[in-house]
Symmetry: C2
Subunit: 411 residues, 2 copies
């Protein structure tokens, strides 16, 4: 068969699949002679490498036959038990049958979408939104409808309008996807009032909420930075549901990629039990189970405090980098350049003068040895040509200063 | 929301999802007071635990920042390079852009199905077939059509008839799924002549072949048992394609679960480049990438000969258990009981007298402390009530003798 002959065999899903915009930059991201604000990887400087080495050696030595064997599709008993005990502090009550361990939170997102979305269903996403969510939802043939983002989260009036519009068009609106804390890419945090309002809107309009929370523990609030517990303003939407009307509309996605290490690919979903059961069946067909070794490492690391105890250090590490970026922008950016000051996470979102195309800017800055991600691919409605995302996670503060200066010069 | 209210949110796929028949037995499989021939797990006695401990400690110590970081969606460069160099011995030429690393071969299967199958497409499966494949294919809404299995593999006349029948009904036949070596569950091995004939049929009828080969290295041929290379009769269908007409119709699924350890969940797909590219996009949305630590362990284990050098030992280990099972059946089974002598793998397939229902038999043997998997769930057409699968991988030869005796007594 020739290359083109395979087209005839592709599923509708495969025809929708495209490489994402960040992938196109991977040739820059991996170059060492370039200052990269592109990829959103956590810094390896935050990895507790020696401790993970010790944990892993101990696990294989003492529990080799079980940590190297197949395991339960839902995830190991030990790890789910740990999550059941530790998550209520931020999520409210969690039952063991509401938990599904996944290969990073990305698999949680994909699996949740698989059990919910039929072609033609409408999913609401923030403008801008996380590209990985757009891929999952798009590949399933859903119609993605954008809702505007304000500095305190989703524009709830716009969401209401979009819901009405969707119903008027006779379409089935099924879910809204949101990253409430230090959103990727915009760095925005949803206010408590809006978290509660979103629950109300979801309940009134038969929507489910997919709450993706990979960054919630990495905040930069001075008064809370040394406290391992989250401040109230960062409690997940699910918490307000559990301590309020208990609408049961939130599916929460958690991750250890940014607070432990991403290479062991361990995330989780907390979903109403009826959904969690379907997630388990979907996961079984998808890959039987997650790496048992990885789950065992994550479990042991969590239980010995390797996540919790290191949060203050990780927060300060990223806050330093964030501040270097914000300060340099403040000193060098043109008056028509605006940016959002994030309260945590890994990203600064920049809006350029309307006439400037960030993709054109990128061509210039690449020449000057700096890369970032143009913002347009993060918008489901094609807006945002004058926006860009700067990740401050990879480079040293010195490189951040230098890189941001070069971008500002290109402007 | 109440439990039942979530039904309204399920996708068509979710509505098709069911727990599989082996899952229903998990409460027995994990009991220690029962002799289990149910689960198809490899024996932990074959795991090179100390060596994996050493490899892992070295990897984390010397390469912590990279093995604990995110990595490429296709899989690590090092591991794909190893596969590109080692696979040609059994697969013929392999290009780097034909390789996708997956979370076990199950994820390879699921991802391949996602890029190929639309609801209503016809997929051909052996009678009986692997339950995990049935789940993937069923969840995508395909129509599963069974083709009879003979002692030398698929009944090619029946396959041709089923293809004609499918075309006559105006349906789109897209693929055939087969496990050519020591098939799960039937233990059957496809002859070389049939491997070549299947390629011809696929080419004549616009079908793709999904070749799933998790057991190929675990054969029991006395004359080859100490030779790490596969004997010619076990070269994959893809090999005959690559050294023959190069029809490009084979998608090969590989696994290290049975020859190294399953807990690190590392498998791979070899597919025509046009398909591999879509697999990469699908995989990126599904989970970004596999565990980098696990891939690094598998890569290092393979490169230092930890798979290849141990094959003779692993083969003898399972052959011993298989022989214990076959001998005990020979001595104790009723005249109307038939079974297939496998040339490798983990399973013996048993056909009882037509009037006996294996599910009824199971109820009796559970009382006597023995479990197995009734065969009916392995048949896409609902046949096989009088069949059962006996896995000889878990129990010691002594327990196998005892367990098979008890089953024969119940008969």
């Amino acid at each position: 068969m020739e290359e083109n002959d395979y087209q005839a065999y592709f599923s509708s899903a495969a025809r929708l699949m495209r490489p994402n915009a960040i992938r196109a930059l991977s040739k820059y991201v991996n170059r060492t002679d370039v200052i990269s604000f592109a990829g959103g990887y956590p810094s390896a400087e935050t990895f507790p490498i020696d401790e993970i080495g010790e944990i892993t050696a101990r696990l294989i030595r003492d529990h080799g036959p079980s940590v190297l064997q197949y395991g339960l599709t839902r995830g190991t008993e030990e790890f789910r038990q740990y999550l059941k005990e530790s998550l209520p502090a931020i999520l409210g009550p969690v039952e063991i049958d509401q938990l599904q361990i996944t290969t990073g939170s990305q698999q949680g997102l994909d699996t949740v979408c698989r059990i919910l979305i039929d072609p033609g269903d409408v999913a609401f996403l923030e403008l801008p939104s996380y590209i990985g969510a757009m891929s999952c939802i798009n590949n399933l043939g859903a119609e993605m409808v954008g809702v505007r983002l304000q500095e305190d989260g989703i524009d709830m009036d716009h969401l209401r309008e979009q819901i009405v519009e969707t119903k008027r068009a006779g379409k089935r609106a099924k879910l809204i996807y949101t990253v409430p804390n230090f959103q990727n890419p915009a760095g925005v945090t949803m206010s408590i009032a809006k978290r509660q309002e979103l629950l109300k809107i979801a309940s009134e309009n038969d929507l489910l909420i997919i709450e993706d929370d990979p960054y919630g523990d990495i905040h930069f609030y001075e008064e809370h930075i040394n406290n391992p517990d989250r401040p109230p303003e960062l409690l997940p939407i699910r918490y307000y549901d559990e301590t309020g009307d208990k609408t049961g509309r939130v599916i929460y996605l958690g991750s250890f990629s940014k607070v432990l290490v991403p290479g062991i690919r361990t995330g989780f979903v907390v979903a109403p039990a009826a959904l969690a059961r379907k997630l388990e069946y979907a996961k079984e067909a998808a890959d039987v189970c997650c790496s048992i070794l990885d789950q065992s490492i994550a479990n042991a690391a969590c239980r010995q405090g390797l996540v919790r105890d290191r949060l203050p250090k990780i927060r300060k590490f990223y806050r330093n980098r964030c501040n270097a970026m914000l300060d340099t922008l403040g000193e060098n950016a043109t008056p028509k350049t605006h940016w959002i000051k994030p309260d945590g996470g890994l990203f600064v979102w920049v809006e350029l003068d309307k006439q400037i195309d960030a993709a054109d800017l990128l061509k210039q800055t690449v020449e000057n040895g700096v890369v970032f991600v143009p913002g347009q691919p993060f918008f489901v409605n094609g807006e945002g040509a004058n926006t860009l995302r700067l990740a401050f996670s990879k480079e040293t503060p010195e490189n951040i200063v230098e890189g941001v200066r070069r971008i500002c010069q290109s402007l």
